[in-house]
Symmetry: C2
Subunit: 362 residues, 2 copies
């Protein structure tokens, strides 16, 4: 299927080497639309962009890339949205450097929903991953689409939580929308394409180049009303997203942790700089003046087996071994082992090295 | 030895039942000094305080209490300081309700030093106690006398840290200055009397009545430039001290923790209300514009035995058992056991139930 003439012009212009946001927006302002830009003479173009870029515009053919885009758009759920489209996310128009063109895979309408960015470390702790997923689910149920960057660790957990809730999740990519990076998130990317969305400003086929990710971060924060950092080391890339969020006038939120945990340092630095300390998803919903989601029955509150409940109670907040727990509960070793296995399967506790068990908080 | 006439008058007035701060300060303003108050007629007194209090002033003898005070003052290191004395702590004059009279045991001059209140839960965690003691020591070495309330838990650890540093520590009591409460802190109280100070506004012999402690808290914050809360549950009494500190215009500081730790809830509530998040003693010294103490060689950085250093490194921030650690280090079981014992004696690690070891952060 051939592309509509105007969309072809948008794509062609977006593929001109060396023509980036600023220059492109200047040309659109001067000439009105991409077709008129492409029809302009080199002299006319040179009034607004450098001579090299003007030449590149006139030399641009991009026929192969255009054919690729046309083929990609044939697949169900794939979209290209331009600055001129009504579907272009309004919040991105508020940022200083909105992309001319967005490739979107999945539910386009999600880009217009109230959203929250949830980001953090790739090397997260087990508790950090649980926090990211459970907070994200509560945001999603509270009406906020969860935006993140499809990285391993906190990003992936945030997407999973968002998908599990009512308002789903959007991943903003540092690659072309036809590429999954990192490969370990392939299944998650398929889930997002089916029930959420993936979005990229980069041409199809763009590989994961390091400088794409910081640039991509402005769209993660730009799509959202605010940005929550779950776990971040002092030099974490998620602090870039938080800084961009603040510069874009978005609220910045951070979850604190032990002063001895390297993965809390970034969050603490943000709080010192004015980010809001967050202990629960409700803290964020309240700050954004959204009603908290109707309280779900929390799994923690609904252990049916009173022996399992007693075991959780004696476990408390410190690691404990099976023998000690059995003695504290007055249960046999066999009963205790069975209950611990069930609690572990239910993700209520985690096994630590050395035969210890640690309670997990959801 | 007989008391000086003017001190006897101060003590006598301070012992009148029902005559508290406000009334006493009104009378002093009206009559000039305690001797003139005691010489005034009931009619004259009734112009400033209620009839019952005026009668109580005239009926007051307090001879036995005066004799007790005289005997107490005979002991070396014991002092009574009145509002009229040059030694009365200047910062207490800034608060709305300074006591007329202070009983001080120990180094009176410490009350005039720059000071920081360090308070927190009686039921603290092992890491909370370590934090309190190591922060307090750094404050003390940085020139801040550490003020706290001689309670179990964080208070006691703060006093110990203050005593270990250069600027010592002051305990403000909710009992008479001749009583140690709780009894388990007897040895600490003796240390404070010898190398720091104990201070009370309550008459000698006053038992630990529950309502004395919140009232006492205004003096803990009042003596200090700021107040650091180390660990506090959501309903902790140390939040009263922090609130009073804020009302008195003192800086409030709090150490964050896991959002799943009940003992971090009080600190997080304070940070949400505007308290400064603190990750290190340097954060506080910097905020108060005091030069940080010359960096001491931190014990963590100076493990001499390279095998012990390697063991600490592989232990990381999670609990680990001896077998796993031995395998990671390539050490024999016997070597590992010996190193773990030494590290435990050096308080570099703590043994957990189930044969696990956890690194301690100083």
């Amino acid at each position: 299927m051939a592309l509509a003439t105007d969309l072809a012009a948008w794509l062609k212009l977006s593929l001109v080497p060396g023509l980036h946001g600023d220059g492109l927006r200047k040309l659109l302002a001067a000439f009105g639309d991409p077709e008129r830009v492409l029809a302009a003479s080199r002299t006319e173009l040179s009034r607004h962009v450098g001579a090299a870029t003007a030449a590149a515009i006139q030399d641009s053919r991009g026929d192969a890339a255009l054919a690729d885009a046309a083929a990609w758009l044939e697949e169900p759920g794939n979209h290209v949205v331009t600055l001129a489209d009504a579907a272009y996310p309004r919040r991105l128009l508020e940022i200083p450097d909105p992309p001319a063109l967005l490739y979107v895979k999945g539910r386009l309408e999600l880009l217009a929903h109230p959203a929250l960015a949830v980001v953090g470390s790739r090397q997260a702790t087990a508790q950090g991953l649980i926090n990211a997923e459970s907070f994200a689910r509560a945001f999603s149920d509270g009406g906020l689409t969860v935006v993140s960057g499809l990285a391993l660790g906190i990003d992936a957990a945030a997407h999973r939580g968002g998908l599990a809730g009512a308002a789903s999740s959007v991943a903003v990519l540092g690659t072309g929308a036809d590429i999954v990076y990192p490969a370990r998130n392939r299944e998650l990317a398929h889930e997002l394409a089916a029930r959420g969305a993936l979005m990229s400003e980069f041409p199809l086929g763009t590989r994961p180049l390091p400088d794409h990710f910081p640039r991509r971060n402005r769209l993660i924060s730009g799509l959202a009303l605010g940005c929550l950092v779950v776990e971040a080391a002092a030099d974490s890339g998620s602090l870039i997203t938080a800084r961009l969020a603040a510069e874009q006038g978005r609220e910045v939120f951070a979850i604190p942790g032990s002063i001895h945990s390297p993965l809390a340092k970034g969050c603490h630095a943000l709080i010192k700089q004015g980010a809001k300390l967050v202990e629960s998803a409700g803290d964020v919903l309240e700050e954004l003046r959204l009603p908290a989601a109707a309280a779900r029955a929390r799994p923690e509150d609904t252990v049916n087996d009173p022996r399992a409940a007693a075991l959780l109670a004696v476990l408390g907040h410190d690691p404990g071994d099976a023998d000690t727990l059995a003695a504290r509960c007055g249960l046999s070793a066999a009963e205790t082992a069975a209950l611990l296995t069930q609690l572990e399967l239910d993700s209520r506790i985690a096994a630590l090295p050395g035969g210890l068990f640690q309670r997990l908080h959801r």
